[in-house]
C-alpha cells in the first residue's frame, strides 16, 4: 500500500539506527511471545479465520436462499389462493342467476375439481415453506462453530494481555475471566460448508445410499 502525501508535507528521513532499533524490538517481542507459548496457539487460531469466513458465507447464503425460497412460494400460494377466490365468486354468480344451469353445465363439478387440485398444490407449497426452515438447524450449528473459534481467539488474546500486564492487574483479569467463561461442549463437525475437492464427505443423499449399499447395508 502506498500513501500520497500532500505537496507541503515531507516524510522525515529516518536514520538507519531507528530501523535497527525497531527491528530489535520486533524480534524481542516475537521471541518473548514464543517463550510465553502464546504465539503458536495464537497463530493456530488466526489460521482458522478463513474457515470462519467460509462458515459466515455459508450462513449468509443459506439464509438468503431460504428467504427467497419462502417468498417465492408465498407468491405462488397467494396466486393459487386468489384463483380459488375468483372462481368462487364466478360460481356464486352462476348459482345466483340459475342454480339448475350451474349444476347441469358442469360448472359446479369443474369448480370442485379445481378446488381439489389447487388446494393440493397449496398444501405442497406449505410443505416446501416448512422444509425451507431447515436453515435454522444448519446455520445454527455453523454459528456455534464460529462462536467457539471467536472464544478461542479471545482466550488467546486475553492470555497474551494477562502475561504482559502487571501482576496485580493480571490476577484480577484472570479471576474475572474464570468466573465469566462457561465451558462450551465439544461438538461434531456439523454441516460441510466447503465440500469441493473433499473425498472424506458425501455431497448428497445418493452418495450416502451408495456408500451404505457398498457396505452391504
Amino acid at each position: 500500500m502506498s500513501i500520497d502525501l500532500p505537496d507541503n508535507m515531507q516524510m522525515p528521513a529516518a536514520s538507519p539506527e531507528i530501523f535497527q532499533q525497531l527491528g530489535q524490538l520486533t524480534r524481542q517481542l516475537h521471541d518473548t511471545m514464543n517463550m510465553l507459548g502464546v504465539l503458536p496457539d495464537l497463530k493456530n487460531h488466526v489460521d482458522n479465520l478463513p474457515d470462519a469466513r467460509s462458515r459466515l458465507n455459508y450462513i449468509a447464503t443459506k439464509t438468503a436462499d431460504a428467504a427467497e425460497k419462502v417468498l417465492n412460494l408465498v407468491d405462488t400460494a397467494k396466486a393459487d389462493q386468489e384463483h380459488i377466490a375468483t372462481e368462487t365468486r364466478k360460481l356464486a354468480a352462476l348459482i345466483t342467476a340459475d342454480p339448475v344451469k350451474a349444476v347441469a353445465s358442469g360448472a359446479v363439478f369443474n369448480f370442485v375439481q379445481d378446488v381439489e387440485t389447487t388446494t393440493h398444490r397449496v398444501d405442497g407449497h406449505l410443505t416446501d415453506i416448512m422444509m425451507a426452515q431447515d436453515f435454522h438447524d444448519l446455520t445454527g450449528q455453523v454459528v456455534a462453530k464460529v462462536v467457539r473459534l471467536a472464544n478461542d481467539l479471545e482466550g488467546q488474546l486475553v492470555k497474551l494481555l494477562v502475561q504482559a500486564a502487571p501482576p496485580e492487574q493480571a490476577q484480577k483479569v484472570e479471576a474475572a475471566l474464570t468466573s465469566h467463561h462457561a465451558p462450551i461442549e465439544p461438538r461434531l463437525d456439523g454441516p460441510v460448508v466447503n465440500p469441493e475437492g473433499r473425498t472424506d464427505v458425501v455431497a448428497d443423499q445418493s452418495e450416502v445410499d451408495d456408500l451404505l449399499a457398498s457396505l452391504g447395508f
Partner: protein, 132 residues
Amino acid sequence: MSNPADMKFLIVDDFSTMRRIVRGLLKEIGYNNAEEAEDGAVALNMLKNGRYDFVVSDINMPNMNGFELLKAIKADDGLKHLPVLMVTAEARKEDIVLAAQSGAAGYIVKPFTKATLEEKVQKIMQKLAATA
C-alpha cells in the same frame, strides 16, 4: 403393531425447528403419533419410561449425541429392537459407516426432502414387517 399409522415415533434433535419439520413430514406421510426430545439423554430417559416404535435422531447434540444414544439403545435389551433412523448434517463417510455399524436402520443427510424421509421410513417399515 397392527396398523403402521399407529406407530409411535420419538424425534430427537436439539433444534426445535427441525423437530417440528420432521414431525410435520411424518404427519404428512401418515404417522400422527410422535413425541420430541431435545437431546440423547432426554430421549433415552423417555424411551426407558415409555413405549415407542421408531426413533428419528440427529447426531450433533449436547449432553448425549446421536451416536451415544444409538449405542445406548442397542446395548439395552428392552430397546435394542427399536429402529433408529439418523437424520443429521454430519456428512463424513466415517460417521455414516460408524452409524451403520452401530446398528442404525438408516441415515439421512441434511438438508433432505420429504420424499427422502418417506422412502427411508417406508423401507424400514417394510423390513420390520418382514421380520415380524
